[in-house]
Symmetry: C2
Subunit: 207 residues, 2 copies
DNA sequence: TTTGGTTAATAATTCACCGGA
DNA sequence: TCCGGTGAATTATTAACCAAA
């Protein structure tokens, strides 16, 4: 290969090498059960599995890019498979399902750990989220946006206090959407709502 | 700088250096008039200018990316400026208008040359289209798509003859949209409709 | 702080392409 | 000659800045 490794000594994946299910499942316990889940999904209707995964990603606001990075699947292919049911060979669907199997455990672990007083990022680490993966970008969830939107109608320039109030409301709503107690908000990881994000939301909205 | 020049000994622009109006206008005659046009546009309402440019790009199916490449403007900034009227400083708007001023002449030249029997690509070259610029990707125009869509209703798998027929119809429509005689179809450049493209359109549509 | 500018990143879409049957 | 698979490119949109008033 010609060029030196991009800026990316921070990524999980050699961009060149194909991934295998084992790469995705590496380490961590409980892999036998995951295998079973994967095989099971492979035998079922791909479109149903796609809808379930999409649903899960939506509920947890997981960026498609994370899937792309950790499975090595092609972004547009994945997008079409998930959103339109475009066919995907078993080999590749396996990677997708492996990612899902692992991700579900990671997310669960994150919320479990989040009870302790750790900050959101520490929680992610403690949960063993693949350490070399790129940190996800924050993304607003529909529930939070509704809250902000309602607030915006009433007041376009909220004070710091009002913003803090919104932060709490949003995080509560997000936890709710994920079916976890609001006290576990730090498990939201990169999607934890903060005052700056609320500030930015209003600033961008005003434009 | 750290990395060796990308795969791109084929591009016009050093990705690092800021562009100037002169870079864009370089060479070619008639630059005084272009200057005048640019200054004029800079004094007018940016949103009106944006609409005119957008309109022009639409009529000729010019990819936004070409503008980005040749002006050095940021893609999302350009997109927002053109589509939503997001503000852009004069310095940058100047680059945009310079591109436009030059492009209009190039396009006109292309259609003029296209009378001769040259193929579409030769026409572009002969017209002096910045030689080191990336070749644009083909893009269907709305007029052609309507034609194809109508044909699709009647027959999902057209024969080669039918396809050739559609090619002619489409190219005629495209020329028409640009206000030039159908005999100048080769001036369409990268947007010239061909049988393979029609074939692909149907193949993709059937999915 | 807020607005005026500006941008990296994300992801749906668009158009192609390839290996078989 | 078509279809099952795939993918590079394109671009609207999202969530951030940052300088300066």
């Amino acid at each position: 290969d010609k060029r030196e490794d991009h800026d990316a000594d921070q990524y999980d994946c050699s961009p060149t090498a194909e991934k295998t299910i084992d790469d995705i499942l590496k380490g961590s316990p409980g892999n036998d059960e995951r295998r079973a889940l994967i095989d099971n999904l492979l035998r079922q209707d791909p479109w149903k599995a796609a809808k379930n995964i999409k649903n899960y990603m939506g509920r947890h606001n997981i960026p498609q890019r994370e899937v792309v990075d950790s499975t090595g699947l092609n972004q547009s292919h994945l997008s079409q498979h998930l959103n339109k049911g475009t066919p995907m060979k078993n080999q590749k669907r396996g990677l997708l399902y492996a990612w899902w199997a692992k991700k579900k455990d990671e997310v669960a672990a994150q919320f479990k750990i989040a009870q302790s007083g750790m900050g959101a990022e520490q929680v992610e680490e403690a949960a063993g989220v693949s350490p070399r993966a790129r940190r996800n970008r924050f993304k607003w969830g529909p529930a939070s946006q509704q809250i902000l939107y309602d607030a915006y109608q009433h007041q376009r320039n909220p004070t710091k206090e009002e913003r803090e109030e919104l932060v709490k409301k949003c995080n509560r709503a997000e936890c709710n959407q994920r079916g976890v107690s609001p006290s576990h908000a730090n498990g939201l990881g990169s999607n934890l709502v903060t005052e700056v994000r609320v500030y930015n939301w209003f600033a961008n909205r005003r434009k």
